[in-house]
Symmetry: C2
Subunit: 233 residues, 2 copies
DNA sequence: TGACAAATAAGTCTGACTTTTTCATTCCGT
DNA sequence: ACGGAATGAAAAAGTCAGACTTATTTGTCA
């Protein structure tokens, strides 16, 4: 997780960001910098910095003589990890989780295919290690241990794809997987079939079999979609 | 495009952002707010706001007694449209274009599949209209007209997918397509086969044939990959 | 080695001032 | 009397300058 207290403006964002992304201020709402500064008991300079950050996330728009207006959801920078965290922490969580899982289902298979072509020996080893760690923690309610390896596995795939855009989704996937374990599903041991699939993906990548790595990963993501009752493509 | 002159801090970002993303300041470089403020001839308050924005993009990190240090590329928020624009405008353009095209190849087929399931009648009409517009402008060096319809087509697919994360990639795809037309390839009329594929995708979506829409779109993106000499999966 | 002190650069606050944009009024012409 | 253009005032963000605070690092000395 990122540093919680990186200055006063960060403190302000910690409450204002979630409030906006939660829809507490509907699109078109107008805030005034001075009022916000008073409300949060900070100086205008600090408040202005916070507004600038929200503006860079396209959450709000600041215009002279008008104020700080909340933008419609469709314009938000929904790939900003901070925005994602805020939304995952709020009432929008289920919806956000679905969006992200669908995104995963598009990205990860392709990433796995690329990883099979360009993964380094170290990455292959890491992958195998993670898969074995998942197997070792797949029985007896060792969810914490399982999760660590699961996250590391997917992160390694995304990194090994060699595509920077894919690699940067590692944190997002981590958040989705953690969330799934802690809150929603997974009250019991993980599906053995899923565990096996991970082992096979590690194999396929190690052998450089791109098509197989992609197909197997697609099966994993289909499973993730089904867990959320999303119609599998 | 976004508004160019949204305040002094925006002006500063317009030169500092591209400079950082271009690698002009290598990772670990230390900048000092006061010096920057002097250099850009703005007050410290303005400079601080600019730094905050760069910080929210994970381009830099500001620490007391140290200064503003440039983060390694791997930590940047590479999905931030602003960051993408900066990188597309700089020396990193070819690399960025490849990353984005690979991203497209993962996203768009899935988006098309989803669109086939959930597109509205209006969206289907829009799609057909775009495809016809592409056909009409596919001969006789009418690249500008072709591009408009091409961009609109892909944007509509992404929107019609019903997934907000996909929808937000519309701008990125637009930028990639425009760039391709203006700079790199496409000196002559577009590939007739590609045009036909677009028409067929519109058909498949209209008929609700998800698998076919996905497969046809995959063929389109494979073409885009090949244009950049990227090994097709 | 550890504690303490100095230096440093970001962080914060305040108040005065500027600039842009909007809204309401007024004034003119038809 | 009505519509529209010009004018003025108000409102809120934007900018600046200066003083002060605080955390962090570095270096010195016991």
């Amino acid at each position: 997780m990122t540093t919680p207290g990186r200055g006063l403006h960060g403190r302000v964002l910690d409450t204002l960001g979630p409030a906006i992304t939660a829809g507490e201020y509907p699109p078109g709402s107008v805030l005034r910098t001075d009022e916000l500064a008073q409300h949060f008991e900070v100086s205008r300079s600090v408040m202005r910095e916070a507004v600038r950050v929200l503006e860079s996330m396209h959450l709000v728009e600041s215009r002279r003589r008008v104020g700080v207006t909340v933008r419609p959801k469709a314009e938000w920078n929904v790939y900003d990890p901070q925005v994602i965290r805020w939304r995952l922490a709020g009432a929008d969580r289920p919806h956000q989780l679905r969006s992200l899982t669908v995104l995963r289902s598009a990205i990860e298979p392709v990433a796995a295919g690329l990883a099979a072509r360009s993964a380094t020996a170290e990455q292959c080893a890491e992958l195998t290690e993670c898969a074995l760690g998942m197997v070792a923690n797949s029985r007896g309610h060792q969810l914490a241990g399982y999760l660590i390896h699961d996250v590391a596995f997917h992160r390694t795939i995304l990194t090994a794809s060699g595509n920077e855009m894919f690699a940067r989704l590692g944190d997002v996937v981590a958040e989705v997987l953690s969330g799934r374990t802690h809150h929603d599903v997974m009250f019991e041991d993980p599906d053995p079939a899923a565990v096996t699939l991970h082992v096979k993906v590690a194999e396929a990548v190690r052998e450089g079999d791109a098509a197989r790595a992609e197909q197997l990963t697609r099966e994993i993501t289909v499973g993730a979609l089904q867990e959320l009752d999303i119609l599998a493509p």
